[in-house]
Amino acid sequence: MKYNKKTFALFVGPIVIAFLMVVIIPLLIGVYYSFTQWNGRMDQAPAFIGMSNYIAIIKDEGFRNAFIFTAKFTIVSVIFTNLIGFSLALLVTKKLKISNFMRTIFFMPNLIGGLILGFIWQFIFMGVFETIGDLTGLSFFQGWLSNATTGFWGLVIIMIWQMSGYLMIIYIAALQNIPKSLLEAAEIDGASGWAKTRHIIFPMVAPAFTISMFLTLANSFKLFDQNLSLTNGGPGGATEMLALNIYKTAYTFTNYGAAQAKAVVFFLLVASITMVQVYINKKKEVEM
């Protein structure tokens, strides 16, 4: 079909309208609400209060703690998830008999929804660990999720458990795309296993690394359902992440305006961090 304005409108129009309706317009309305005080009741109009919500964020200790916790969580989980995902990919691309079976197994946690996952692990940490602790007397297994440290590692563990299988798939695709000729040429030149990994495999999977980093970074930063079901921010608000903090501001304390202001800040944070990350990673990729 020849390109003309009508077909262009026909194909792009519906998407543009949908995108406007469900993304752009709600975003703009949301930004407006962030300048208001509103309790969420449809029969009461939001009252415009200017920048007060944003000023309150600076003083909000809960939000600051949630930010620090989220940042720590993100750094740790990005490193471990990628490391483990990549190792699993190397493992299952070795020509072993059970490779396919292992791929399925490693990927499976990703098929379980976040809420369910949180409840399953809550049972493991609080039921199974506790029982092991009681039977063996090992203090390592006792009191999981009852303080900030075990709450933090609990969240990191389920994040790794869920995401590394997914990253493995991405890395497998990248590893299989490396031309055999390159590796063979390197072998003929006498490159050792590590030299091959360092100088051929790493640069060649760099695009996959960009994607994986982006996914884990954004997902860890925005983590909500596992946080809600595993610890619900407790104990004492010590494991409350940004998304959960915003959710509670809106739905528990019915401060919709303040929550919306937090959400705008949150959006800017996630957008800028991920953009910087993609920019840096892109520079390191090699073109074939």
Partner: protein
Amino acid sequence: MKKYVKGMVLGGAMLLTACGGGTEEAKPVEKTVVDIFQFKVEIAEQFDELSQIYMESHPNIEINIETVGGGDDYGAALRAKMASGNEPAIFNVGGPQDVYDWQDKLVDLSDMDVAKKAFDGALSGATLDGKVYGIPFTQEGYGFIYNKEILKKAGIDPETITSYDSLEKAVKTIDSKKKELGLDAVFATAGKETWVTGLHFSNVALAQEFGSVFDAYNAKAVEFTYSEGMKKLFDLQIDYGRKPVNATDYSTQVERLFSMGKVAMTQQGNWAYGSIKGIDEELAGNIGFLPMPIVGAKENVLPVGIPMYWTVNNSATEAEQKAAKDFLNWIYTSETGKDYVINKFNFIPPYEGFDGENLQPKDPLAKDIMKFSKEGNTIPWVFMGYPTGWGMETLGVELQKYVDGQITWDEVLENAKASWAKSRK
């Protein structure tokens, strides 16, 4: 295919009757229709049965019941129902916020028989400016559920525990015999559940500070008048509670610890009876409530509250309002109604007139609530009057930090006071 045809025929028949209805002569007796919009899913079926019985003896009344509740949001559904123009004659309110929201729709029910028969204080949650807007559904209560067998073995007479001092003494005695009694600890304390600490526990002190749920709702500040006694009772539950307290949730507390006989007592309500019975029926038959004593306040008390009220809509016609009131009266005063309330709904009615042998609650926790309530040893539930989110997300969370040793008791109270004042300014 067969089913499909059957459906067609049925549908057609219904259509015909529906059309036919329009042309029929007006019925000899005009029926008064009472629409009920209620939230207690557990009794939906039994309530329907009861209304059938009522309609048989009152042929000119027609009762339609609609139930929305359980996992659904009754408040939102009620708003939608009201907005649709098809307003129910009878609906439910939960506490002061609801009464304020719906005040212009509510009929004063203080002249009703059941209102006069209600126990002291049972109406306070739905009374505003001296007008009674709600008729209580049932009572619920909580306190320290204790295992009679364990106390007996430890040589403690539960009847003697009527104050903080006697409770502390009993706890220490049990603690010293922990090994022979096979206990993990004296208490199972659900520190993970902020509703147990932030709402229910705090209510024991704050109910005595505020007096009623409406006073709490209107209070600009919380003082923690009984902070000393509150700290003592909280510390007792922590010091003699099974560790880690902050990782103990409802099911660990009730099912894994109390029902398995691993602890002697635990702070919970009569709703826990079902879970306990599900695990050990024998143990469940041998439990009761101990009071939650706050030093300096009334000590031998059980917090007993009304989770929900019946209300009558003033936009219904005079006849409908009267029929609605008659029906509500009938539920709680007629023999059939009373039988259903006790034996089918499993309610603990906060009304006089339930004295018959067959009109006693069957489970031991409900019996104890009746006992405390007849003796006047109850305090109200005021946590429905806390600022939104304050109980669970502020006080409950601060108490978790206290348990963890991060902050002192005074800091807990300061933070909670500041947050209360901020939401009520």
